[in-house]
Point group: C2
Chain length 233, copies 2
DNA sequence: CCAAAAGTGTTATAGCTACACCCATGC
DNA sequence: GCATGGGTGTAGCTATAACACTTTTGG
């Protein structure tokens, strides 16, 4: 039995994958393998299959296109303008993913054809993918102000200067490092390690790691990472 | 031309319509007019049509089922478990709407068959609509803590005690009225009127109205309406 | 020895919370 | 005249923002 007199539609899943390499934000793109817009740059996309949910589809597609697994992935919003795809009607449900670029760089380069583009040097994207990226970036700015999600972009061990760079990069601003350090440490999310990163300075900066238990407890609660004045403009 | 070898799927739009009548929150439900689950209570739902976006579909369906127009409507999330509808595969994109119950009560009762249910006395809902409501309510609590969206639930003129009731109802808590008044007035969102509401007290409470310009400027910015402790639990 | 980045403390201010009494009116 | 809900001010505390110097070490 079916519902009668209704139109069935193709459903796509597109993932906006943000990465951070220690100094700047990048977006993961892939060259589309089929017409239209074959060879143009695209988000990580594919069609929803009969036996999977959208969450599952997003995970599957990301794995197929990049090998990435077990990463932060969250629904963003749907895009459904009737003519957004010239071939036929397709609605897209978008997801945002956050990953530490270095952790997967080899894998992505060698086995797949996805490529990282600095946020300021994005190529032209197919369809409405440009708009998806802008909305995703705005949501990331919004959400990161209250929830410690940016840690998803860092390696297991990272330094406070790296962490501050990451926040400053997202909001295009500079924070006082004394205040930033105090605020971050007051969350009890970080454990100080005994060794230092000596690549970025002569003195070396202590590594910290995420306290996984605290992190999971805190993800859904609301902190205040960024002064409201930075968000409201 | 079409994409080949892909499955096309029914896309539904379901709207969670929250209302406030001055003392409690209610949910607008309708008796489903077709099988399966005919006559059972359902959110305001319908199928996406070929020439409309999801936003447009949500508006159209709401108008068809309730006569409601020009109300606050925002995408929530998609629901796509493969067997969520027993007839055939349907993915649903949900929207949340906020309205002042009294403003439309006549219209809804007389011309349509939608009905308001107090949040604590909801009937069994079809499919996964129960889950949709819970997620919508959580998001409303989250969002209302930082953005003045709850004003959508109030009539054009309202009193500070009504406003406070509305916030207290959403968070199931009580606020100190001196602090609440000060915080609300400090936003400059409200204009004091000259007349009073004398229905709810002998002394009467002054009416206030939204400053439309301030409101539009403020909607996207982030305030702090509710102490974080109330949200984080 | 010097350049470059890491690390650290104090003070002033603003915003928040807690708290209690008087006012206006209908009955 | 009294019961009911509306309206208002202050003081202590906490969180935030602004600010500059010392430390370490590779070259």
């Amino acid at each position: 039995m079916k519902y009668s007199n209704q139109t069935r539609i193709l459903v796509a899943v597109d993932s906006i994958v943000f990465g951070f390499d220690g100094s700047e934000y990048k977006l993961l793109l892939i060259q589309r393998g089929f017409a239209p817009e074959k060879e143009k740059w695209s988000l990580m996309g594919g069609f929803l299959q009969p036996e999977e949910s959208l969450d599952e589809a997003a995970k599957r597609i990301l794995k197929q296109l990049t090998g990435l697994q077990d990463i932060y992935l969250e629904e963003l919003k749907s895009f459904s303008r009737p003519n957004r795809d010239p071939i036929e009607r397709v609605i897209a449900v978008t997801y945002v993913a956050l990953i530490d670029i270095k952790k997967y760089q080899q894998q992505i380069n060698d086995d797949f054809h996805a490529r990282w583009f600095p946020m300021k040097e994005l190529p032209q994207l197919i369809f409405d993918h440009q708009e998806m990226v802008e909305i995703a970036l705005n949501k990331l700015r919004y959400k990161a102000a209250f929830h410690p999600i940016l840690f998803e972009l860092l390696p297991d061990k990272f330094t406070l200067p790296q962490l501050q760079n990451m926040y400053e990069g997202l909001y295009n601003t500079k924070f006082d490092k004394r205040n930033f350090t105090r605020k971050v440490l007051s969350t009890n999310l970080l454990n100080k390690e005994n060794d230092k990163d000596k690549l970025n300075s002569k003195k070396g900066a202590f590594y910290y790691s995420l306290d996984e238990k605290q992190y999971k407890d805190t993800l859904l609660s609301i902190q205040n990472f960024i002064p409201l004045t930075e968000i409201n403009g």
